[in-house]
Symmetry: C2
Subunit: 73 residues, 2 copies
């Protein structure tokens, strides 16, 4: 009945991997060289990130870019 959209999927994966790694938004921001407030925005589904941002986040979290878009059915 309810299906997550792609922003929500990214948000959920991002939060999950970030917490698994035990890093704060700010630390992740530094690792991925992305603005701190922007990561906060992504976790709140405010923007549709580009694949380059997804890729940098993936590298910082040591996963594949594809992993951040995997749907959680």
């Amino acid at each position: 009945m309810f299906r997550m959209n792609i922003r929500e999927t990214l948000s959920a994966n991002l939060k999950r991997y970030r917490r698994e790694r035990g890093v704060s938004q700010e630390e992740l921001a530094h690792l991925a060289e992305i603005d701190r407030t922007y990561i906060s925005s992504l976790e709140r589904c405010q923007y549709a990130a580009s694949i380059e941002v997804v890729d940098r986040l993936a590298k910082a979290l040591e996963v594949q870019a594809a992993d951040l878009l995997k749907s959680l059915d």
Copy 2:
């Protein structure tokens, strides 16, 4: 030695799935409701697409968004 960047990965997956399905850029454009020339641009790695564009292309090709970002090592 040589590693594909994320734009090239998307481009390769896009071409591969599109040809597997036997659809032209124009047909895919119609299915995904994206301009044909924009799809052409993505296959030539001109832009870093947003995850929403990736998601629409994935649905049109009947795959997961994550599949379009899977690296081909």
